[in-house]
Amino acid sequence: MVQALLASGGLHQFSVWIIILTPRLPRAQKDCQFTAVGSVCQMGSIMMRIELKINGSTMPAEVDDDTPLLWVLRDTLKLKGTKYGCGIGQCGACTVIVDGQTARSCSLAATAAVGLEVTTIEGLSANGDQFVQKAWQDIRVPQCGYCQSGMIMAATALLGKKLFPTDEDIDREITNICRCGTYDRIRAAIHAAANGRT
């Protein structure tokens, strides 16, 4: 029903999720103007009840079918570690891991994540001791910290694919923005995480 393709080069050099959405049949008809469920509303959006698998738990949510996963995470499920920065797939502040791949949750409809395993920063560890987080702390990466959830998720996905990423791998795969300019330490922390993992 829903396919998600990882397309590199779709939007400039950045990896983005292209979503092919097959509209679902509404389950119930109700008033479409407020928090109605499953009704066809203006602007073509459909209110749906979905179940998402996030950080190992199943979480139900009622969403308009075009709502990006980002806003469902933040505002419906109150997982606020995932950040909004640009809303168009450019900055990576909203990066989460979907079935092992990074996804920019601002550009992925929540409905497209149904049936997939979503991991957010909250799912990495209870106390901040996942190996990438620990490397981030050892190298003292964060300044304002706002980009760092996305950075850590992107680094975690990269380290999941490659044991020892090279500088070129890092340049290619981590396209997230840090306005505070912590890039040097991010690079160092990724290498440290690779070398330090047990």
Binding site: G85, T120, G181
Partner: protein, 759 residues
């Protein structure tokens, strides 16, 4: 329900902001109440029963680490156990009621260390005295016989009393007069100057830290706004019925233009105007509010700037540069000496509008109920935000509670507080409901507060030996406060010199951006000096050292000692960076080095550090540029926390690279052309330099600012390096507008030297 919602929609749309709605709903206060058995001491700390200590931080943490560094300063003198510290942001209302007890609460100008180092050390020492006095009374010993360590008082014989035990008694003791308090010998510091890990390090890696955008309240509604897309435009009308049926939409609010809350009321009684009319759509989620706003038909009156563009502004600046302008500094006889010069060099430099673009989008949460008004906002200036919120709500300040969360980047953009006024106007229209207003990135880019667009025309004369004997600089910039210090307060004392400076009104309100006027003028001044060195066939370091000559400072100069100290500091960091970078050693073809040195002390009380940088670049001849290495040396006086300072220098380096590569905001028909990061790139890992070397100079001087110094010097060194590598002379920004091919055989620039109306 529908009828209710529609009538609410109508009533909101019908009134303009400024009408006070009756408060209809009560809500509970959300601010964390002080536990009853905690003890506040001298406004600065709260001793908790478990012997943890809350330290009030009178600044916003925008990533520069003040939560940690200022805690180090106070805890040093108070002898606190580091692990017991629980910092919290100051409360502007308390500060107001207590006559500015927190001394300096605006987070701007890299001033936190400079302005708070003495007051917070003193506060720590005074509170320590209060605790000692209380312990002496209680134990019967003499104060002189007591010691403190790790949040405890040590009695003769080794008995201990925790601070928490004596805190209540101490709170009744008046703080001693500062003249009767002895501060520690810096040799005994165990916190100040140490590379302590940031107190908020772990939550900044777990997503648990709360920024303004994360505020969550029961029953909260979301607002998305659009200000007039043309600066200075007015709202004519909107058709709320077009979106009335959209799901979740609660209403449309008209937001009136007003002050942007930058500096508070001005000396002449006026205000900093900077906020134009706006429309807000309120809905039950951000996504729905955003969609509805996009669908809302809005009619604007574009006003006086409807046809103004960057091009037309630059053309105006260029034409003004052809006419004499007011003189702001003059020495000797420029006109005569230029006639006698062996060589005369001329060049025009220009600087475009820019945008600070912090990563956390602008947001503010406001909640008006019968208890008063509560506001949350990531701002750099909470005190002014509190004042502006009260004025906007029409409430006395005591009825407004301002809560300062962490800030996801400031860089000057959040010195303004117009978003606080906007959110309060919305909350007034929908009383009883907490409203979280979030700007889209598109709105942020459309409504920035840029540093001024600028043109800088230079003319200099060299004698036969290649010495600079005459210096002329005429600067015309867009809307800004008086920044004539940028061109005028050079550390050099060329014998014949004339500096002219003028400003014209441009559409956007002015804003401070990381690096302030130095990013423009240090680059322009030293880019041109680099040209002089090339023309004279001299090494630029040689030329800088000549210009940085103590002997050239006039003996009758007011503040001569400051001028001499500036020169000494600059020469020292310049020498050091040359050693680090092996300045003067040959590089292969296509590679080049640039160098720069400056302080930020152009403006009298602006005490920040002195920095020097060498940047190495490679050009591939086909337009490709790589920044290979960056060396930076900073002398910032006493270093409060070397790791934090290093982070600030590293951040400044990448800021400089972004500014050089991509920094430009373009106006067309009064509106900003760039919409989001797809139109305005920034440095990322692939474009950021991989090899940076930062060195900090040890010093016992008063601590100075560290957040900005490296910005102008790194940018200047990088742009000079491009020429050294065989590329064009860069006289306008950004680099992405230039073709970075090698210069032609005859040595002439690949590009015209004058801005061709293309800023």
């Amino acid at each position: 329900m529908n009828t209710d919602r529609r009538s609410l929609l109508k009533s909101i749309a019908a009134v303009s902001a400024g009408v006070v709605f009756p408060v209809t709903m009560t809500g509970c206060r959300v601010a964390d109440p002080k536990p009853s058995d905690s003890v506040e001491l001298f406004s600065w700390v709260v001793m908790m029963p478990d012997n943890t200590v809350r330290i009030r931080i009178p600044q916003s943490d925008i990533g520069q680490g003040v939560v940690t560094t200022l805690s180090q300063v106070l805890a040093e003198e108070l002898d606190l156990k580091w692990s017991s510290i629980r910092p919290e942001f100051f409360d502007p209302l308390t500060n107001l009621k207590r006559n500015n007890v927190y001394v300096y609460t605006c987070t701007e100008s890299s001033w936190s260390a400079d302005r708070l180092f003495n007051p917070m050390r003193m506060a720590g020492a005074q509170i320590r005295q209060m605790l000692l006095t209380a312990a002496a009374r209680r134990s019967g010993f003499d104060v002189a016989d007591l010691r403190t360590e790790e949040s405890s008082i040590i009695l003769p014989g080794g008995g201990r009393q925790s601070y928490a035990e004596v805190a209540s008694a101490a709170s009744h003791i008046a703080p001693p007069h500062p003249s009767r308090v002895k501060l520690k010998d810096p040799a005994d510091y165990r916190l100040i100057g140490k590379p302590i890990k940031r107190l908020d390090l772990v939550p900044k890696t777990t997503g648990k830290l709360e920024y303004g955008i994360d505020v969550d309240l029961p029953g909260m509604l979301y607002a998305v706004v659009q200000q007039s897309p043309v600066y200075g435009g007015k709202l004519v009308s909107f058709d709320e019925q077009a979106i009335a049926k959209m799901p979740g939409v609660v209403g449309v609010v008209r937001i009136a233009a007003g002050p942007c809350g930058l500096n508070g009321p001005l000396a002449d009684g006026g205000e900093d105007y900077g906020m134009d009319d706006a429309v807000a759509v309120v809905a039950d989620s951000f996504w729905r509010a955003r969609k509805a706003l996009l669908a809302l038909p809005i009619e604007w009156d574009d006003g006086e700037f409807a046809y103004t563009s960057s091009e037309s502004i630059m053309a105006d600046l260029v034409s003004r540069a052809g006419r004499p302008q007011p003189v702001v500094r003059e020495a000797g006889d420029f006109a005569g000496s230029i006639g006698r010069a062996h060589r005369v060099i001329e060049a025009d430099y220009s600087y475009p509008f820019m945008d600070a673009m912090p990563l956390e989008p602008i947001n503010c949460t406001a909640w008006l109920n019968s208890d008063g008004l509560q506001v949350w906002a990531s701002t750099q200036f909470a005190q002014e935000a509190h004042r502006l919120a009260a004025v906007t709500a029409g409430l006395p300040p005591e009825r407004v509670q301002f809560n300062l969360p962490y800030v996801g980047g400031g860089f000057g953009r959040r010195c303004q507080n117009e978003y606080v006024s906007q959110a309060v106007q919305i909350a007034k229209a929908i009383p009883g409901k907490p409203i979280k207003m979030i700007w889209t990135r598109e709105e942020m880019m459309a409504r920035g507060y840029p540093p001024p667009i600028t043109i800088s025309r230079f003319k200099a004369g060299l004698d036969e030996k290649g010495n600079v004997i005459a210096w002329f600089n005429r600067v015309i910039s867009g809307t800004a406060p008086d920044q004539s210090y940028g061109p005028a307060r050079l550390p050099h004392y060329v014998p014949n010199l004339r500096i002219e400076y003028a400003r014209v009104k441009t559409p956007q309100p002015f804003g401070w951006m990381r690096g302030v006027a130095f990013t423009q003028h240090v680059w322009m001044n030293q880019g041109f000096q680099d040209e002089l060195a090339v023309a004279a066939g001299r090494d630029p370091v040689d030329l800088y050292m000549d210009l940085l000559d103590e002997g050239s400072v006039p003996s009758d100069l007011k503040g001569r000692d400051v001028a001499v100290r500036r020169i000494r500091h600059m020469r020292a960091v310049l020498k050091r960076v040359c050693q680090m970078a092996k300045w003067g050693t040959p590089l292969p073809k296509g590679r080049g080095r640039g160098i720069s040195v400056s302080d930020f002390s152009y403006w009298d009380s602006y005490r920040t550090g002195t920095a020097s940088s060498v940047v190495e670049v490679t050009l591939d001849g086909k337009g490709g540029l790589r920044v290979d290495r960056v060396f930076a040396v900073l002398n910032c006086g006493r270093i409060l926390n070397p790791e934090v300072v290093r982070g600030q220098v590293e951040g400044s380096i990448f800021w400089a690279i972004t500014t050089a590569l991509y920094g430009k905001i373009t106006l067309k028909d009064g509106r900003v052309v760039q919409r989001n990061f797809q139109d305005h790139n920034v440095a990322r890992l692939a474009t950021a330099c991989r090899n940076i070397v930062v060195e900090l100079v040890e010093s016992d001087d008063h601590p100075a600012g560290v957040g900005e110094d490296a910005v102008p010097i790194v940018m200047t060194a990088m742009l000079n390096a491009i020429y050294d590598a065989g590329g064009p002379r860069i006289r306008s920004l950004p680099l992405s507008d230039h073709v970075l091919s090698f210069r032609k055989q005859d040595g002439s620039d690949a590009l015209p030297g004058k801005p061709s109306g293309n800023p």
